[in-house]
């Protein structure tokens, strides 16, 4: 205590010194600055968020606004009900991440459907675009890996999740995407794309935002857990081997019929020709004589 008093006294002696004010000011600044950095990271991101949104808006004006309008409000054509591009107000970051991340947007050319292709923008640019569109109005956010991963579950829970996901998949998805996730036809040249090799994040976002002709499976319709289970089921299909051998594209009886005729009947007729050509007594020379 005495020591403390002594050192306090010593500092106190300088309290009216010429540099005291400056030192206190510096100390105060360091303290506030340090506390600020330590305790308000959210605040820190929000400043760079604004930058991100600004950057996204730049990209948007160059790459997207031609169809979606300069403020993402969409552009209508002269024909009623037809649009050059729909409004993006309220579609949320998830929709942008899905459409741009899978390369569907920007569209290479107008058509029945935007196909999946190599993405045009890199990850940061996609994040910027997503941030900009999300800033237009509230909408679904980009899901985090915990939303669609079953890694955190116990073995038993995982199995349950997979079989539950299978039933949800067969009820809601197979009508268009086929029992195997191989995809199917939609009217007028449209199609439900294959789900093989599609990243879990994009499957989750597709369910959440309902891109193109796909219906939206909102969280009230399929809960986040149910979406996660569907993704787990699809993952399990890709992990399990093809028990029956070569899967023939997983397209159902049409490709089976094709193989029955080409491999089966084709092969067997070939064998019939072979057997008939090999006789006990060869008549080949005579046959060769026929013109």
């Amino acid at each position: 205590m005495r020591l403390l008093n002594r050192s306090a006294g010593r500092i106190s002696r300088h309290r009216r010194g010429p540099l005291a004010g400056l030192v206190v000011l510096l100390l105060g600044l360091v303290l506030t600055g340090g506390l600020y950095t330590a305790f308000s990271p959210a605040q820190a991101e929000s400043t760079s968020d604004e930058e991100l949104i600004a950057q996204g808006r730049e990209l948007f004006l160059v790459g997207c606004s031609f169809c979606h309008g300069q403020n993402g409000e969409g552009i209508s054509t002269a024909r009623d009900g037809y649009q050059v591009g729909p409004s993006l107000v309220g579609v949320g970051a998830a929709a942008v991440d899905f459409q741009v991340g899978t390369g569907r947007m920007p569209m290479a050319n107008p058509g029945q459907q935007a196909p999946r292709k190599k993405p045009v923008y890199n990850e940061e640019e996609i994040a910027a675009l997503a941030a900009y569109v999300a800033s237009l109005a509230p909408g679904p956010a980009i899901p985090s890996p915990e939303d669609y991963s079953i890694d955190g579950l116990s073995e038993e829970e995982r199995e349950e999740a997979i079989s539950r996901g299978g039933q949800i998949f067969l009820t809601n998805c197979t009508a268009c995407h086929n029992f195997n996730g191989a995809g199917g036809a939609m009217p007028r040249g449209g199609y439900a794309p294959t789900l093989h090799g599609v990243e879990p994040k994009y499957i989750y976002e597709a369910m959440l935002t309902g891109p193109q002709t796909m219906p939206t499976f909102s969280n009230g319709n399929l809960s986040p857990e149910e979406k996660r289970d569907v993704i787990a089921y699809l993952g399990s299909l890709e992990e399990t081997p093809e028990y029956g051998g070569f899967g023939l594209g997983g397209l159902g009886p049409v490709s089976e019929g094709l193989f029955a005729w080409i491999v089966g009947i084709g092969g067997l007729v070939g064998f019939a020709v072979w057997i008939a050509a090999h006789s006990t007594r060869s008549s080949k020379i005579k046959e060769g004589a026929e013109a």
Binding site: E160, I162, S163, G166, Q167, L170, T171, T174, A175, H177, N178, F179, N180, A182, G183, G184, A185, M186, P187, R188, G189, Y191, A192, Y233, S236, L237, T240, E242, Y243, G244, G245, F246, L248, G252, P253, V254, S255, E256, G257, F259, A260, W261, V263, G264, I265, L268, V269, F271, A272, V273, I275, A276, S279, T280, R281, I285, K286, A289, E290, A291
Partner: protein, 584 residues
């Protein structure tokens, strides 16, 4: 051909031959023959002669795949439980564990994952079913295109058509048994077809399902149809089909030594027993390889049937694909008569056209026989080109079938070829009428052109490929006469005889009874043979050969392989004595 002299006595012996002690096998055979009396029948039938041609073995594929079906089918019945009782699946397949399903579905999964060799047997059974019906159809085409269905084989043709119908029904019932999503969708469609029948539809549906769809009796009922009723009928009809084949004797291609009254070929024992037996193992082997390597109907991915679920790519097996295709391209026509809906959109493609096609198919030999008025027995086959109208009718029917069949896979055609499913439908709606017509005209003219080509070969010989330049600068190709064997084979066909009505009115001007029908018959007969090219007469061939002789001087040296210098004096290598073509 060298003579087999081992069976010929080497000397004229002076002592009488004595019977040696019978061998043990001979003793058993004698014992059996004394009691069964089979030796007589066996002696005749084991030496029965069959002609040799690859196309005569197509029906055999059907027979052997049926045997594979019986063998694998018996295996499957040992574990399959045809019950619609609900249970929770607790087997080896993770993704469905704990799911409620029928016992039929659970036992199918059990066969696939927990019975040793079960999945192989299931897949072999399914592949063999596909091959069974496919081989029946290629066999049918062979018979039709060669005119083998003419008298006396019309009834065997009808039996064959019934086999095709029964095979299709057998396939459909088998497809429905596992009670997976695809099966159930198929049964649901069948229920819709029944209900589309006017007046009695809903009664038939309730009768079949034992109440409202799906009920709990359809699987046991289809099971007994699948394992007992239809296989029994199939076995009986296959037996009848083959007994008639033996009774009629097999048809053969015309050629030297082959007439309408003999069969040239090899005996059952040892040649055909070996060939046919070997072919069985090949069919079994191909089915086993397909069953082992190619997935067919992965029921575990479809999951149990549930009326609330459906999957893209819900198609029937291929043989039901063409009615499905007709259904897919049919406009949605319905009419309401006295408050009752008549569903033309289902009736026409399912309940009217397929049975009609089957009747047309069965009647083909009778219609043809009536038009031609041909009452002779035919054991020699016709080349398709020598019956242009028949060939064209078959190709036309095939085109109809093929287009309807393709329409059944319209969704997969759309996604795999980047087409619009709507435009495929519009295209098919037109082509289903236009396609068969175009096919008929093209095929008929094609056949007639081939007939002309045959006559060219008979009269002017074959094209040697040697181009000649005459002294005044014109170019021509040398022709050489074809061999006698080839000429015989080409001319071994009848001239077409157009059916004519002899005097439809008597001397008093009274029309003979039924003369209008006869006139129609004569008209059809004339139309059928119109433009057909008849084989040249002997005099015409003689004349053509005489004409050719005058050019023979130019053809000197053409009895060895042509090298292009036969006629220009620049032939600078020794002439080998090899004939240019077999006979010359």
């Amino acid at each position: 051909m060298s003579l087999d002299t081992s069976k010929v006595a080497s000397t004229n012996g002076t002592t009488a031959a004595t019977a040696s002690k019978p061998s043990k096998i001979g003793g058993v055979a004698t014992w059996a023959d004394d009691r069964l009396g089979l030796a007589g029948a066996m002696r005749k039938n084991l030496r029965k002669v069959f002609p040799d041609h690859w196309s005569f073995m197509l029906g055999e594929i059907a027979l052997w795949s049926f045997v594979v079906l019986l063998l694998t089918g018996v295996f499957l019945t040992l574990w399959f439980n045809p019950s619609m009782g609900e249970i929770h699946y607790e087997g080896s397949y993770d993704q469905l564990r704990g799911i409620t399903m029928s016992e039929a579905m659970a036992s199918t999964l059990n066969i696939s994952f927990d019975v040793r060799g079960g999945l192989l047997m299931r897949q072999m059974h399914h592949w063999a079913a596909m091959l069974f019906i496919a081989s029946m159809m290629v066999h049918l085409l062979r018979v039709a295109f060669t005119g083998a269905y003419r008298k006396p084989r019309e009834l065997n043709w009808v039996i064959g058509c019934l086999l095709l119908l029964l095979g299709t029904l057998e396939g459909f019932t088998g497809y429905s048994l596992p009670d997976d999503l695809l099966s159930g969708t198929g049964v649901r469609a069948a229920d819709g077809f029944l209900k589309a029948t006017p007046v009695v539809g809903s009664y038939m549906s309730f009768f079949l399902f034992g109440g409202e769809f799906p009920g709990d009796s359809i699987i046991p009922r289809l099971y007994i149809v699948h394992v007992l009723l239809i296989p029994g009928l199939l076995l009986g009809l296959i037996a009848a089909h083959m007994l008639l084949l033996v009774y009629h004797k097999h048809t053969q291609w015309p050629g030297p030594g082959r007439t309408n009254d003999n069969v040239v070929g090899f005996p059952m024992l040892p040649v055909y027993a070996a060939k046919a037996g070997g072919f069985f193992f090949i069919v079994f082997g191909v089915t086993a390889i397909m069953g082992g390597l190619l997935t067919i109907n992965p029921v575990w991915k479809f999951g149990p049937y549930d009326p609330t679920k459906v999957t893209a790519g819900s198609q029937p097996d291929w043989y039901m694909g063409w009615p499905d295709g007709l259904l897919r391209i049919m406009p949605g026509w319905e009419s309401v008569i006295f408050g009752y809906t008549i569903s033309w959109n289902v009736m026409i493609p399912i309940l009217i056209v397929p049975p009609l096609m089957l009747v047309i198919l069965m009647l083909l030999p009778f219609i043809e026989g009536w038009i031609t008025g041909d009452k002779r027995d035919h054991h020699l086959l016709q080349r398709p080109r020598n019956a242009p109208t028949r060939t064209a009718v078959m190709v036309s029917l095939m085109t109809f079938y093929g287009l309807a069949w393709a329409a059944g896979g319209n969704d997969l055609i759309a996604i795999k070829l980047d087409l619009s499913i709507n435009q495929i439908t519009y295209f098919m709606r037109v082509m289903i009428f236009l396609g068969p017509l175009i096919a008929f005209i093209v095929t008929r003219r094609w056949c007639i052109s081939l007939q002309r080509h045959d006559n060219e070969k008979l009269l002017h010989g074959y094209e040697t490929g040697v181009i000649m330049r005459s002294p005044d600068g014109g170019y021509s190709e040398r022709h050489l006469p074809i061999s006698d064997t080839a000429a015989y084979t080409l001319t071994a066909r009848d001239r077409d005889e157009i059916y004519t009505v002899d005097g439809d009115t008597d001397s008093n001007g009274v029309t003979a009874p039924g003369s209008r029908v006869q006139a129609l018959r004569a008209k059809l007969s004339a139309k059928m043979y119109e433009h057909n090219v008849q084989k040249p007469t002997a005099a015409e061939i003689e004349e053509a050969h005489h004409h050719a002789e005058h050019e023979h001087a130019l053809e000197a040296g053409l009895d060895h392989p042509a090298d292009g210098h036969q006629f220009d004096g620049h032939s600078d290598h020794t002439v080998e004595e090899a004939p240019l073509r077999g006979g010359h």
